[in-house]
Symmetry: C2
Subunit: 308 residues, 2 copies
């Protein structure tokens, strides 16, 4: 029977001021997922490597939930065996569950002979996010499916827009190996916002989007400020401000929390500056005694990709 192997990228969501509406994938890290069609209609997660905490039971596994819904909706006469090689650490804030959800939606769509558009795949992938975090968000799965810099203008109706962005925009990802559950990071947020703070945030969102579209690096840099989530979520990340200062002092356009953390991301013009920022963040964190992973990548123009 047919076998499909795909790469599902990590994603940075929120992107400072773009809380719940902006995101982009990176070239690495990412997950490898293998989908094998079976003659019986069962869906089985046969192997998971790289993450102990992810359940194998189909109904509790994101890939299981997403693929079952897609196969059932289409009354397909086959089942699946799914293998998951996690390159993204769960709870890292760089879209671990989003990669599984988006990768599954993408792969099952290939097995369904690309019946669905990218936009139609997003709600399927969001089901997976919902099962993992309890919230209906698209700012990891949409960038993972579409590739590039993505705006989710609206959730209801779902409205996803590809933003132009400068070619030489690089991202440094720094993942301190402490776990924050998306659910906890949501709970720490205030449910209301002062009007003044909200105005600041949407002024910056408008600036960031304009900066991306016009390739205006100064404007991107001036706009990368988050007055909503960073003030509280940064409290959950040991030595957050050391990391941020290291990034900004070494040429980052801006720096913030990736998703709900604990990963921290920075955007730079060019790979050389991105490497310099990575080294500075590594140096700044060495004394904490906390392990970490660090990556440099272009903003990925592709989302999920077929490997074989």
């Amino acid at each position: 029977m047919e076998t499909l192997k795909i790469f599902a990228p990590a994603t940075v969501s929120n992107v400072t001021c773009g809380f719940d509406i902006l995101g982009f994938p990176v070239e690495a890290p990412g997950d490898i997922m293998t989908f094998r069609k079976t003659e019986n209609k069962e869906i089985r997660i046969t192997r998971i490597s790289g993450a102990d905490s992810i359940p194998l039971e189909t109904n509790r596994n994101i890939a299981g939930v997403v693929s079952r819904k897609m196969l059932e909706d289409n009354n397909m006469p086959f089942g699946l065996e799914i293998e998951l090689d996690k390159g993204i650490v769960p709870g890292s804030g760089i879209g671990s569950s989003g990669a599984s959800a988006a990768g599954t939606a993408f792969a099952v769509n290939v097995l369904l002979k690309k019946k669905y558009t990218e936009k139609e795949l997003v709600p399927y992938a969001m089901l997976g996010e919902m099962s993992a975090s309890g919230t209906r968000h698209a700012d990891n799965v949409a960038p993972a499916i579409y590739g590039g810099f993505i705006l989710i203008r609206s959730y209801d109706p779902l409205d996803i827009i590809r933003l132009d962005y400068p070619d030489d925009l690089y991202c440094t990802l720094f993942h301190p190996l402490v776990e924050i559950k998306t659910r906890d990071a949501r709970d720490i947020l205030k449910k209301t916002l002062a009007l003044d703070a909200a105005i600041k945030q949407w002024g910056n969102v408008a600036g960031l989007v304009t900066g991306l579209l016009k390739k205006d690096y100064d404007l991107i840099a001036r706009s990368m400020e988050d007055v909503v989530a960073e003030p509280v979520r940064s409290l959950l990340i040991p030595d957050y401000h050391k990391l941020k200062n290291a990034a900004l002092e070494n040429g980052a356009l801006g720096c913030g929390i990736s998703g709900s953390g604990p990963s921290v991301f920075a955007l730079m013009r060019g790979e050389k500056t991105a490497e310099k920022v990575k080294n500075a963040m590594v140096k700044a964190y060495r004394d904490t005694g906390i392990d970490f992973n660090a990556y440099v990548s272009k903003i990925a123009t592709d989302g999920v990709k077929i490997i074989s």
Copy 2:
């Protein structure tokens, strides 16, 4: 002595989702202001036509406040006689005080041999706004000074960005002749916002800015939604929803409250549609028994202009 006559345009601020950060001037209506240098250092408002409520006393008149500060800061050896022909009704929500403030800042700068940049003029004009409404806002004066579609990304520091926008974007302005004080319209707003509403608003702001820059009319239309000010401020405008429905049913991309109201604006592609929308709004309002003014204009690429 030297005499300078200028035109200061009406402006639409907020522009639905862009509360406090977006605005543009129109080609009409506007004020005519005449500035005459005098040998003594006194500043006198010698004549005001078209508005009974505006005080002649220099210290209580916007043009007086702005020009005095500019002349004093530069220790200039002359004074001014200022005549004001109001084409913009005070309290209309289309930047009546903003036009006086921006017009004065612009004109005095000409008399100062253009010492100041546009950006440097904005804080002077904001002083005038402050004296009139008690709030420090720039979303009328910045568009009136710069021209075009303007984003105020940040107030502190002041960061003003010209946005690209489609050439054939037209505005219909409909002014019901009921007065709303900016101060009252501010007071009716809630000082806090649900996080969900704020996310909707900045998703729309990002969409509107992207739509303008990419000349994507559908995206402009989808993004023109205001979940912050419209729900409460529309209560102050008699038959607001009749006007809005008339606009949307006749081809408007979007429709909302101009500034703090009561004027209502709509954006259209092309002059013909703008005229059609104007006629539909006029028809929808005829039964209310409330007088009104209605205008059609391109978004003005110029702000304040020298007449002679």
